[in-house]
Point group: D2
Chain length 95, copies 4
């Protein structure tokens, strides 16, 4: 069994995280440059949305591969994987 | 195959929704009574949290039964179920 | 000074809460009728969105009237009102 | 009137954004290293929470200084500032 489920999306996810890193650096520079609060808040909301989108891709890949794999194998592992995925959703929704 | 996955939680979910209904009626009454904005906002946040908690229970039950069942059966149904669950998570996170 | 800031939106807010109450009752009935998990989750997300929208109206009215009034009056009351509003935003964002 | 309201928190905000940048780079590395989906999701949730906390600080500072300043000056500027702040809250809650 492979260690993760995002193989097919790995390149795209790496690219999105690299864009997020640029946006985060941009926000740090806006603060350094004394930019207007609301303009910074708009950028923070954009980064939060981008991260949520990364998380949703990871989660869908995880369900489709890791969780599905554990269920197909059967046994206690399946139940644990479902519980773990549900907990991750809980953290996402709460964050 | 049964039509849903929340059988074991059905009574608890019904009780929680009945409590949410009471809270919603309470908020309507607070507005009617011209109560202070912040006190109403506190109640709205409490109801939103309660609904999120109901949603997370439904989602976990759905993964553990409906999605797991479809995966165990195999075939195209499994993939569709995973996609459908991921879309539901997307709506939850965005709402 | 009046006790709240949503005077102009009171009728609309009451109507929206009454619609939310109907939706919540609808969800309770869906659970009672053993409806499909995902269909219930869709309704829960819709209610959460409707409540958020009510909260955002209340918050905007609160800023425009209660907070603005306290600032116009000056003194320590203004700072306390800003802090209180920021805390309400925190609860909304976290919920 | 200065252009923003986060003067007193500027150093702390810069430090928090620099920590967020490190966390974002850490997530990119986790993806590059084929780390387990759920561990990455946990980190994404942590970054989202950290950004939300930055946003809430910016918003509170903005209310306490920029919005309060506009209200104290009076006129149409005050109403526009309140509307602008409410829209920023809307984007935060929706993101």
């Amino acid at each position: 069994m492979e260690g993760h489920g995002y193989g097919a999306d790995k390149v795209a996810l790496a690219r999105r995280m690299s864009r997020v890193e640029g946006q985060v650096r941009g926000i740090a520079k806006m603060i350094d440059d004394d930019r207007y609060c609301i303009d910074i808040l708009t950028q923070v909301s954009a980064v939060t949305k981008a991260l949520e989108s990364v998380a949703l891709t990871l989660l869908e890949d995880h369900l489709a591969h890791c969780v599905a794999g554990a269920i197909a194998e059967g046994g206690d592992g399946a139940e644990a994987k479902v519980k773990e995925a549900a907990d991750a959703v809980r953290r996402l929704v709460r964050s």
